[in-house]
């Protein structure tokens, strides 16, 4: 074969290859992957499952309305199994699968995972429920639709002091979620002190062997005016059950993490009277809320928890950012989200500031007759 013939053959192959690549590219550009990283098993599975449900519901709606700039969303759901190591693995998997936009992670103990991911990969995280201050006030690719617990802690401290007239408090914290609970506890001690209070003791729960009875017995011995629970729902309900058996009658404040409907279910009557500063809606007739509740019930046959609402809002924030910019660059999307600033959430409207931090109103609630009732806006 002569040189010109060879050239012709190679040229044809090259053109074919370019054509195939273009085709692939054009095919690809019709979809966009959005990942979900949460605890679908393990001790935090209830939070994770609730978040996943909210995530799926949001994706379904957006795809039904045409996707993002005409691109259909492909959800990529991964379970971190409430385990740090597994969480690192799923981030790597996301990177391999070219998933740049991730709703998650769910619990503050996953902070190191986030930090590593931000350092190593070009990813944008929108977390529904991570409230650790360790990620706050940073110009990074991390956005959340829930506040850091600093404001919650301050309000609790104020409530304890002003409303409950508590001067001494006991605290139970779950050290398996240290990033959340330790920071929560430290700020609580500080803030409560500012209000003239004293934190007598912190009871730490860790590992699988949790002796709730012992902890509760000791709390009774404390001469405290109130108890603050910085734990997950399972721990909180076990504590409440035990305290009830011991006839504990001091006010109990549950952190936002365990102030869920599951707490009420698992705790029964023992949850009556428990306070919490939590995210909720004060307008059940709000269109977004009604629609969400209807769709959630139809799809999941259960009552959504706060994590469901927040995960839904996370997807909304991300997709609004993507819609606003024609770029798929994570920084451009983040900036786009920051530029939008005002978001219409399912339960309530909220703001995202220049650091990706959320300003969302929380409400002082109390469990009355098996329901969280807002007692102070």
């Amino acid at each position: 074969m002569g040189i010109y013939a060879l050239q012709e053959v190679y040229m044809k192959k090259l053109i074919l290859l370019i054509g195939l690549m273009l085709l692939l590219v054009s095919c690809k550009s019709n979809t966009i992957k959005i990942g979900f990283a949460g605890s679908l098993s393990g001790q935090y599975f209830e939070l994770g499952m609730a978040s996943k449900n909210g995530f799926e519901l949001a994706i379904e709606k957006i795809n039904k309305n045409g996707g993002i700039n005409g691109m259909k969303i492909i959800p990529v759901i991964k379970d971190d199994e409430s385990n740090l190591e597994r969480a690192h693995e799923i981030i790597n998997e996301f990177a391999k699968e070219e998933v740049k936009y991730i709703v998650g992670l769910g619990t503050s103990n996953m902070t190191p995972v986030i930090l590593k991911a931000l350092a190593e990969y070009d990813m944008l995280f929108v977390s529904p429920t991570m409230s650790t201050p360790l990620l706050a006030q940073k110009d990074d690719n991390f956005i959340r639709v829930t506040e850091t617990h600093l404001i919650e802690v301050k309000r609790i401290s104020q409530f304890l002091s002003d409303n409950l007239e508590a001067r001494k408090i006991s605290v139970i914290l779950d050290l398996d979620n240290e990033a959340y609970s330790k920071s929560y506890y430290e700020n609580l001690v500080k803030d409560f002190e500012e209000f003239g209070g004293t934190t007598l003791k912190a009871y730490e729960l860790t590992g699988d062997d949790r002796n709730y009875n012992e902890v509760c017995t000791n709390i009774l011995k404390d001469d405290s005016d109130a108890l603050v629970l910085i734990t997950n729902t399972t721990d909180a309900s076990n504590i409440l059950q035990n305290l009830s058996k011991l006839n504990y009658s001091n006010p109990i404040i549950a952190s936002g993490w365990c102030a869920t409907n599951e707490l009420i279910t698992h705790s029964g009557q023992t949850a009556e009277g428990v306070y919490s500063i939590r995210t909720t809606t004060t307008d059940p007739n709000r269109e977004e809320y009604k629609e969400f509740m209807s769709r959630y019930d139809e799809k999941y046959r259960e009552v959504p928890s706060f994590a469901s609402f927040l995960a839904y809002d996370s997807v909304q924030v991300l997709t609004e950012g993507l819609n606003k910019t024609n770029s798929l660059d994570t920084v451009d999307v983040k900036n786009s989200i920051i530029a939008i600033k005002d978001f219409t959430g399912v339960e309530i409207n909220f703001l995202i500031d220049e650091y990706g931090e959320c300003d969302r109103k929380r409400f002082l609630s109390q469990i009355i007759d098996g329901e969280f009732i807002v007692i102070d806006e």
């Binding site: 679908l40 098993s41 599975f45 759901i77 379970d79 058996k245 029964g268 009557q269 259960e302």
Partner: protein
Amino acid sequence: MIKMKSLKKEFLLNSISYILLSISVTVIVITIIMIGFIKQEANTKNNAIMDTISAHVEMTLQEPVNMISYTENFFSHDVDHDSQLDSFLNFLLYQKYLVSNIYMLDEKGKIVSTSPPNNDIIGNDFSRYPFFYEVKNSDNTYWSNVFFSYETKNPKVSISKKFKDRVIVCSLELGEIAELLKSIDIGKDNYIALVDVTGRYIAHTDSTFVDNRLIDPYYNKENIIDSNNDSIDYFGVQMNPNIRKIPHSNWTIIVYQSQKDILNSISKLVLSSILISLIVSIFAITLNRSKIEKLFSVINKITNGIKIVSNGDYENELALCPYNDLNNIINPFNEMTARLATKEATIRENEVKILEMNKDLEQQVILRTEELEFANEELEKSFSDLQSTQNMLIQSEKLAALGELVAGISHEIRTPLGALVTINSFMEVHVKDLDKLYTSGKLSKKHLRHFIDKITDSVALANMNINRTTDFVDSLKKTSINQLNSDKYEFNVCTVINDAVTTMSLELKKNNIEVNIECEEEIKIFASPNGISQSIINLIHNAIKHAFIDMESGVLKIIVTMNAEELQIIVIDNGCGVSEENIPKLFDTFFTTARDHGGTGLGLNIIMDLLEKLYDGTIECESIINEWTKFTIKIPQKKDS
């Protein structure tokens, strides 16, 4: 034009087509039947699977049902239930491997006893669990929604029932059901699912459906899957659902049969069918082809035999073959060949005769041709003579006309001349008488008056005759000038016609024919007047000779009209007319009805010829027998003249 085809090819193609068609139809029919069979088989298999699962689930759920029954029994006896509660619960739990926990709750929902024993939770408040509040005021057995152990991820369900002031709650492990589902070989793309009353997967061939706590998309609020859907989109795959409800628990088994799976089975079947049919087709076609080859070898022999015969060898007889149908062709062909041989011999004999006859014919043709050539020469000669004769006749007609004209002129002039001679003689006598009287001296005034009167009368008469002659000569001169002169110039048509009529006045008078001319004064044309003049003269002549031949008198009318297109001169007589069959021939050369009276049949022909040559004009004739005959001369007026 008929398109030529090869019979062998057609046979082969047709046989192949029919074989393939019949096999294809058979394959299609079998495929259709088999598709139904495959679907039915799939349904049967699915039903068997559902039976298996249902039985297993029933068996699994039978445990708590039995427990409920034992508990009923327990509470029906009048014993100290509280003290025996623990042992009773252990009894219930004994070897009941699927029930992982049993709780006994009091009327407030607090745990009073557990199995396995767990003192940590004694006194725990379970009042907000549905398994308590759903049964606390009811006698029904409550089956909870499936929930999951967060340690094992296994699905669990609670069954509870109220007995007097107690509620017994059993937690049933469902992991084994999940294992069962996974162990069933349903096929690669098919699924088995077990859903609870809310539609959430309790167990699924793909465990991620359970891990992700998914709800079956087709399980609506009324807990009914629309089983009328033959095909649904199940997470992006087309599936046929098969549904079975499990009575006690109201759980539902769904077997999702992938259409792809069925299609694969069908396509395998179809491919096998096609393959088999191809093999059979090839075999059949090969057999058929060999048969056709045999047949056509026989046909080729016949064909070759026919070719030999067609080349003239009539002695060659075609051999008979094993096929009656072909022998029905061969036999008549052989007979035909024999007849052909006989006929050929006859033909050869006749050929010789024909050759000889041809020679004679040729000779005769040559002779005849010579005769014809001679005759043709004669004819040509005669034609030439006829033409000369025609010319002579025309000339003699002209001479005859001239003779008549001269005769007419002579008469016309002689009459006034004769009158003049008479007048002159009279005047000579009177002058002699006057002279005698003068000489004798006897001349009186009276004699002179008488003489003057007589001379005056005579002079007047002489003048009249002289004028008459002069007028006649003038007319004649004009006519002859006109006839002699073919130059074109503008002339008054009426004047020319009048002059021509005048020229024929003697003849007209002799035959008592009156001529009326209707002509507008100012009709002028630019042409040679000769033709018009001659035509009028000839028409008058014609009328005298033919129209008025047996009449004592007649009237001839000449009407002249002119428009932008043509000059029209109508000459109409009230004579005997021309018969209809003669009108077309009137203008033919030598046609006449008065040959006995000296007619040459050229007069009208000459007019027609003249008009055509001088004016591009025409002449037509119309007539009614015994009434009138009308000749219409049309002379077109050229636009540039």
